[in-house]
Every structure is written in C-alpha cells, then in structure tokens.
Point group: C2
Chain length 191, copies 2
Amino acid sequence: MRQNPARRGALLDAAIDVLAREGARGLTFRAVDGQAGVPGGTTSNYFANRDDLLTQAGARIYEHLTPDAATMARSLDGSRDRKRVAELMHELVARIGTHRTGYLALLELRLEATRRPGLRVVLTQQIKADIDANITYHMESGLPGDATTVLLLYLAMNWLIVEQLTLPDVFTEAQLHDLVERAVEHLVPPN
Amino acid sequence: MRQNPARRGALLDAAIDVLAREGARGLTFRAVDGQAGVPGGTTSNYFANRDDLLTQAGARIYEHLTPDAATMARSLDGSRDRKRVAELMHELVARIGTHRTGYLALLELRLEATRRPGLRVVLTQQIKADIDANITYHMESGLPGDATTVLLLYLAMNWLIVEQLTLPDVFTEAQLHDLVERAVEHLVPPN
C-alpha cells in the first residue's frame, strides 16, 4: 500500500464526496479516482479493498467534524449555564451547512454498515468514542446537566440534523430555532 | 400502466425490500422483477419511471408503519398520563424489529431525496402529514403535553431508532430503555 499521507487524505475526501453524491453502492475505486482527478488505479494502490476504503472514510469524516482546539476553547467562553448550551446547539445546527457532505456520507456509511459487519464494528467504536468525548467535555467544562442530558441532546439534535439535511422543508428556520430552544429548556437543568 | 392493485402492492413491497438491502442506487425495475419473482418487464408495466416507483414506495412504507385502527384504539386503553406515554414509546421502539425493512428503506429514500427534487416534495408532504397526525392524535387522546412535546419526542425517538437499526451495539438494551424513560420524564409534563 502506498503511504503518502496527503495523497491518502485527498483520496478519502474524494471518497466522502462520492458517498454523499452517489450513495455507498456508488463508491468504487474507479469513482474515487475520477472524483480525485488522479490516474485510474491510484485508489487501489492506497486501500486494500472496499471495506478498508469505507472504514477509513468513516474515520476521516470524524476528523473533519470534530471541532479544532481553537473552536473548543472558544466554546468555553462566556457563561456555563443553560443559555450557553442553547448557543452551542444553535452553532452545531448552523455548522450543518458547511459539513453537509460529511454528514450525508456518514448516514450512507451507517446504512452500509447494516450490510458489512466489519464496517459496523469500526463505526460503532467511533460513535461510542464520540459520545464519550461529548459527555466528558460537557462535564469537565462545568456546563449544567449530566451524562443523560448529553445523550438526550445527542438524540434530538441528530434527528434535527437529518431532517434539515434530507427534507429541509419539513420545518421552517423559525421552527428549527424554536425546537433547539425548547429541547435545551426541557433537557438541561437551569444551572 | 397496469392497474391490478394486489400486483402493484406486491411490486412495491419488493421495491422496499430492494431499497433496504441494496440501497437506492440498487433499485432498478429489473431488481424489483427479480425480488418479486415476476417475469422481466412486469415492473415497467406498473410504474412510469424510477421516480414514480420511488415515490409510491415511500407512500407504501407509510401505509405499513401507520398502526391499524385496532392498535390505535388499544393504545388509548388505560391511563392518559406520562406513564402511558412512556409505554407507548417503548412499544414504538419494540416495533422497530418488525418494521426494520420499512425504516431502512425510508432512510434510503430520504438520502435519495437529496438527489431527486420530485421525491423530496412527496416525502416532505408525507412526513409533514405524519407529524401533524401524531400531534392531533396526542392532543385529542388527552395525553399530557402539547405540540412541542410531540415534536421533541419525535426527534429523540427517531434518532434512537436510527441508532438501534444501523449500529445496535452503540447502546445496550438497558441503556435504550433508560433513554426512553428519561426522554419522557424530561419532555412530557406529569399530567
């Protein structure tokens, strides 16, 4: 397997684009070569097989979706109360637009995981680690609520993102904003 | 277009099976013919094109997922309090197993709707109508809470179903049960 990390990253980003646009079934080595604008056969030199490509694409999406250190630090500015949680949730929803391809590709990978046991194992580990990191971050930052608070917000915000990504006319912007407010109001203790 | 309703229904059920197993890109007239065990060309006699097949499959899934009159009537047995809402939510989650194919096919259709404006319009109408029906049912049945209660339960339960369907090892059975209990506790007023 070739090891140039920049090239590997570019191929994974092309794979994420193909996943979002064509679905998991459309993700072939040839489609990734085309999307990345590299000579035919390049992708097959970097990934052992389709499972390898799918699982590495999943890891790459998480790299992109995880806020960088500066964003994490900034998110601790200001108060540590319910109002701040609501602001963070609004920021999360606002980020959907800029990470649209990654979110869609992740949904495609989840569906593909129902058909591929190896992918299911890897995605399960990634998502458990992501949930645990969210709980740890919430608790250590001194934001109000406990692990259950974070899990219930995770459930509500994830489906709100699916709705907004796939059928954006089900809820208006104003309804989405209100749902975030009401979710935080019900799920997060006042302080 | 041929009109035999039983045959049309059987072809749509075959299309739902193909959607869940192969993804939206795998849904061809030929694949539906094969899944339904009918002569090649049959599906093309019943549906004008792939958009027609996809939108009718979406409507068919909603027919299957909507509880029948007997189930609806039975769901009004007993008390009309928060405890009853929790029971109904547990029953909803328990039904995932028996409607697994329909739920997975609906997720595939949502992703396909990001590529097909016509499908997006039809699915948006169906899902808005479903949400409105849930709100009306909840209010008229005298269960505690308002439209926001129903919407927030809709968000949380839908993602819980996605998690359980696609990556069933992220949460244990006990965690899922507890998440349903805590969601109802936070989102539904005591009476």
